[in-house]
């Protein structure tokens, strides 16, 4: 069923008209039913307004404060006064979202240079609470920002916590804010379960994990994999970042890995390897065999906890 905003008979479903217009409109059964529903809703709203006490408002205020996204200076409890990219102007921003993307970035990019932590984001929602950044393990939720000591305009974000819908805008504001958007390039890495991938091909012919890319209009560089086909969509924080970059005309690309294992998994992390050949990351990666070793160590420390397989 297609609903058109120009359809006059349905106009009333999308706005609450003033009391006076309700009395004027008569006629079709549909419209009168809708009116009755609206009248009831209006009444309910008034009642609710009457019922909302200062305590309710206080609770709502506290909840908003609890869900606030705070960007803290490195290893301290003081918030940054301006947005992160205003304080640390950047030309290259790499964002890894999700534990597999974070493991990839830890092993391949972060060990090929000296990275200094410049800040961390603290947030709370029903699905996660970020932990302190001193000892980060693959199983904890955190969101940390680093810059390369030898080239401070290269920034990196490791985000392994879930950022809820109402927090994504705050996160973007606190990170990007009103920074200079010239000469900046953003690369986002993330994972998604292959059951979210819609395709006309038979699913048994898909060789998971595989990489797909989605880019903004201003991104001109060659991609490391094929584009994400319609009708697939991107969700959560990666989508928020891409949308932000598209609106502000920042060249940005998202590399999305579809995998059948959502936990930290060696094969999924290695599926990101083609990204190392992209122009933006080439200069940052030096020692690949050593990176593979570090990755294996990361996996084993994670696996020791499990006694299922011997």
């Amino acid at each position: 069923m297609k609903i058109s905003f120009n359809d006059k008979s349905l106009q009333t479903t999308f706005e609450y008209p003033p009391e006076s217009s309700l009395q004027e409109e008569e006629g079709e059964a549909e419209e009168s039913e809708e009116e009755e529903q609206e009248e009831e809703e209006d009444e309910e709203e008034d009642e609710e307004g009457r019922r909302e006490t200062p305590e309710d408002r206080e609770v709502r205020r506290q909840l908003a404060r609890k869900r606030e996204v705070r960007l803290l200076r490195r290893q301290t409890k003081t918030s940054l006064e301006v947005s992160l990219l205003e304080k640390y102007p950047c030309s290259k921003f790499i964002i890894a979202i999700g534990n597999n993307a974070v493991a990839f970035v830890s092993s391949f990019i972060m060990n090929s240079g000296v990275w200094e932590e410049v800040g961390c984001a603290k947030l709370w929602n029903e699905w996660c609470r970020t932990t302190d950044t001193i000892h980060l393990s693959p199983t904890e939720a955190f969101c940390v920002f680093y810059h390369l000591k030898s080239n401070p305009s290269v920034l990196l974000c490791q985000c392994s916590c879930y950022v809820a819908e109402d927090q994504q805008f705050q996160w973007l504001e606190k990170v990007f804010g009103s920074c200079s958007r010239k000469n900046m390039q953003v690369t986002v890495l993330t994972c998604r379960h292959v059951t979210d991938y819609k395709t006309a091909e038979s699913t048994s012919s898909l060789h998971t994990p595989f990489l797909k890319a989605l880019k903004t209009q201003n991104f001109r560089e060659p991609l490391c994999c094929s584009l994400l086909e319609q009708p697939n969509i991107v969700h959560d924080l990666p989508a928020a970042v891409l949308s932000y970059c598209q609106v502000w005309k920042i060249p940005a690309v998202l590399y999305l890995c579809y995998t059948d294992v959502m936990k930290l998994d060696l094969i999924t992390v290695e599926a990101f390897k083609p990204v190392l050949s992209s122009r933006s990351l080439k200069g940052l990666v030096k020692n690949i065999p050593q990176s593979t070793e570090i990755l294996k160590k990361l996996m084993t420390t994670n696996e020791i906890q499990s006694n299922i397989y011997t």
Binding site: S202, T203, K296, T300, I304, N307, I308, Y309, T310
Partner: protein, 250 residues
């Protein structure tokens, strides 16, 4: 398509697959490597020790288990499934001894374990056992035996085989290096097992566990020191071989 034939394992897919059995074989690949070698007078089982957590008692994480005095097995896959299979096998070994007044042959107990596994691929409501096993031992006639079983319930005799995480790499190594010379004497067979494991084990001899059975002797588990000795010998031999090579090229 595959997902519609996952649910009840008693269902074949249109192209003849039993997906649960195949998925069980994937579970086996998540276990650490185990290798078995059949020599002339000795059978060797080597396993990659699973790294234990700091507070965990190492003794309770064992991949090599004795089924009887003259038979032992190593497994790869789900720990709990292995425990159940081993218990049933041990009971069967004793039951056989009491009934027939003879110890089990290696083939008999392997067939028992394989039949047990097959039953679980043909009952509804149950899933297959997620383990592969390497069963070694000597029969009364003094012939060494090595058998391998897998989750589907098949079993085969092998001269040397590997199961678990890097089984493919180890098997390729064995195919290249298992010669009559390599198993000429007991020590050589033990070294072959350790060399095969060193191909895939991280951090060398510390993470290897070894067990042997010699004809008419009970199961012997190697201590960490003995394994270290063997590893050192192997490394010396490697260095010598490399020195000879470089001399030849010069």
């Amino acid at each position: 398509m595959a997902s519609r034939y996952d649910r009840a394992i008693t269902v074949f897919s249109p192209d003849g697959h039993l997906f649960q059995v195949e998925y069980a074989q994937e579970a086996v690949k998540k276990g650490s490597t185990a290798v078995g070698i059949r020599g002339t007078n000795i059978v060797v089982l080597g396993v990659e020790k699973k790294s234990v957590a700091k507070l965990q008692d190492e003794r309770t994480v064992r991949k090599i288990c004795a089924l009887d005095d003259h038979v032992c097995m190593a497994f790869a896959g789900l720990t709990a499934d292995a425990r159940v299979v081993i218990n049933r096998a041990r009971v069967e070994c004793q039951s056989h001894k009491l009934t027939v007044e003879d110890p089990v042959t290696v083939e008999y107990i392997t067939r028992f374990i394989a039949t047990l596994k097959q039953k679980y691929t043909q009952s509804n409501g149950r899933r297959p056992f997620g383990i592969s096993a390497l069963i070694v031992g000597f029969d009364d006639d003094g012939i060494p035996r090595l058998y391998q079983t897998d989750p589907s319930g098949t079993y085969h005799a092998w001269k040397a085989n590997a199961i678990g995480r890097s089984a493919k790499t180890v098997r390729e190594f064995l195919e290249k290096n298992y010669t009559e010379d390599a198993i000429a004497n007991d020590n050589e067979a033990i070294k072959l097992a350790i060399r095969a494991l060193l191909e895939v084990v991280q951090s060398g001899g510390k993470n290897i566990e070894l067990a042997i059975i010699r004809r008419n002797q009970p199961l012997k588990m190697f201590s960490a020191k003995e394994i270290e000795l063997q590893v050192n010998e192997i490394e010396k031999e490697k260095e010598e071989a490399e020195r000879k090579k470089s001399k030849k090229t010069v």
